[in-house]
Amino acid sequence: MTRSSTPRPRTVPRATARVTTRAAVCTAAALAAALTACSAPGESDDDTKASSGPIKVAVVNAQSGQLSSLGDWEYKGAKLAVDEWNEKGGVDGRKIQLKLFDDQGDPTTGTNIARRLVSDKYVAMIGTAESAVTIAMGPVLQQAKIPNITSGQSDGLVALKSPYLFLNGPTSTTYDSTLAQYLVKDKGHKKIAMITNNGSFGKGEHDAFLKAVKDLGVTPTTDQVVTTDQKEFSAALTKIRSTKPEVIFIGSEEVEAGLIVKQARDLGITAPFAGAAPQGTPVFIDTAGKAAVEGTIVSSPYLSNDVSAASKKFAAAYQDAYGKEAELHGAKAYDGANILLTALKTSNGASGEELADAIRDTRYKGLLGDFRYDESGVGITKTTIGVIRDGELVPQQ
């Protein structure tokens, strides 16, 4: 793998600012020291490729802070895939060494980790679930040519245009245009209300869904925006109630969406809710209550553990390894890890550009569907519509 090297400047920094006497003395002393040193500092270039020993892959996800549950699910999914490969002997006889880094949902911490991955010669990275962190890390990883398979779905990731960034699922646009198609075309709904939060995820959902329904000639009856840490939604929901919508689009993470649906039912709103991935998770269903989420329409690439033989097998293995039920985020990370490992295998343990190309060339039939990456780093552009019946997400017939 190639390393980022420090371009060597020909001159030494000049202190030009006006300084106090003492500082000037220090600066002069330091400057002299710098002049005596032979060159500017930097890591020496060595292009020696580690072609033996374990292949180092990093998982970067929040293990603390608000998004830590998401981070935990994804780590479990990725680890399951890696463990399976290692049991079968790894890639070309080399074991995969998986290490978890905690980004704490903080972009600054993310950049620290990115530098560490470069320093410690990681071949690839899986994660993060927080688009802002992934975007902050992006330039560093791109410069160091470390492929990154992220779990984010923000269209901002695509806008980064990094050839080393891949999504392990569809973008918000895919989720929401599928959903809009279903609601408007299949169901013939004309009165659609929207409630979304102003976080990275909610904003992405808001923009994608609004565009999708407008393209189909429908204007939402109302467009309510809430904050990510809001707890009380009476005002927004009463406004929605007064417009008497046939269906309500919700763009928010699991817990908040659960609270919104619960409070909506208490306010006498009976229209079904419709949303993307978070609305298919157990946390959402538990927070809102089983009765409240009945009939919720979900656009997701992974509706349940029972949709196919592969998903059943995955769910069983997940249950075996962690004693918990598998869900979408784990499945996404599992797919992402498998794609990476497949590419490693086909490229004979390559790294850098070669590995990124190998990922782009990988055709993979995963839990979420058939992956086929394009130039933008998106590998899957299809979701299916499901409905929650008796607290279970089932495919829409």
């Binding site: 840490d229 009380e232 009476s234 659960g258």
Partner: protein
């Protein structure tokens, strides 16, 4: 009109919880001169404890609450012992020390209960009441009733019992109270456990309304603190008024300013506190330098 009223109802029900949090803040401040920023994190511990007894141990909700209050009050005794050197000292240090304590409590909660958090099902499954188109959740009514009872109980305790009177005496002049034979340490410990118990009550009650996780304290704390300031720090009726005011302000700000509600809430709060720094019920004392 209906929307305005509905928003008011929503604001009041969350406001009742802020009021409970503010009341605990105020009691501890009033009796011990301790600004306890960790109070809301104690409430978070209380919420976890209540939900654990309710969901995992399958105790009835009321019993789970009582056990949680007792457990949290006991934890309160330990915390009081650690923080004792700070009492009646530099307010700035106290603020920082208790912020530190809050960080510790959050980390402890993550270590014990994990990061995922939990949803608590409502103990009152009855359908919401419909009053001329305004829907009122039965559980919210329960919360408001419990909050009102807690206020009355606390007022009765402070005014009518010997221990309450002793606590008031310590509040006024802890040296003089020592001189007349009141055990100040014990009185403070009791005050702190009552404060912690109130926090647990707030936390336990808010569990079924919201979602219990380690960041619950952050959500309740700053607004609870703001509520105490708005009502007048140290005043029990002030805590109630301030709590309801913050709840309603928050609710209307969310309705009118959508995503900008936090900004608006805190700007209004800052303006209000600039106009009347001592809050609604706060008194301008004659001389305390």
């Amino acid at each position: 009109m209906q929307e305005t009223l509905q928003t008011l109802v929503g604001g009041l029900s969350l406001g009742a919880v802020y009021a409970l949090v503010a009341m605990g803040f105020s009691l501890v401040y009033r009796t011990m001169g301790l600004v306890n920023f960790a109070h809301a994190d104690i409430a978070m511990i209380g919420a976890y404890a209540a939900s654990t007894f309710y969901l995992t141990h399958r105790l009835p909700f009321a019993v789970a609450m009582v056990v949680a209050i007792a457990v949290t009050a006991a934890i309160g005794l330990v915390i009081e012992r650690v923080l004792r050197p700070l009492e009646n000292k530099d307010f700035d240090l106290m603020l920082i020390g208790t912020i530190g304590f809050g960080i510790v409590l959050q980390a402890v909660a993550i270590l014990i209960w994990g990061t995922t958090g939990r949803a608590v099902r409502s103990p009152l499954p009855a359908a919401p009441l419909d009053l001329f188109g305004v829907r009122v959740r039965t559980y919210d009514l329960l919360v408001m009733a419990v909050a009102a009872l807690a206020v009355l109980g606390l007022a009765w305790f402070l005014a009518r019992t010997k221990r309450g009177a002793a606590m008031q005496a310590v509040a006024m002049d802890h040296e003089a109270a020592t001189a007349v034979g009141i055990d100040v340490g014990r009185s403070n410990a009791l005050a702190f456990s009552i404060g912690a118990g109130l926090a647990a009550l707030a936390g336990g009650l808010v569990g079924p309304m919201l979602y219990v996780d380690a960041s619950l304290g952050g959500a309740l704390g700053i607004k609870g603190f703001a509520a105490a300031m708005l009502g007048g720090f140290g005043s029990i009726p002030g805590a109630v008024v301030g709590g309801l005011a913050i709840g309603v302000l928050d609710s209307y700000a969310a309705g009118h300013f959508q995503g900008y509600s936090v900004l608006v809430t805190f700007l209004v709060f800052t303006a209000a506190i600039m106009i009347r720094p001592m809050g609604v019920f706060g008194e301008r004392t004659v001389s305390r330098a």
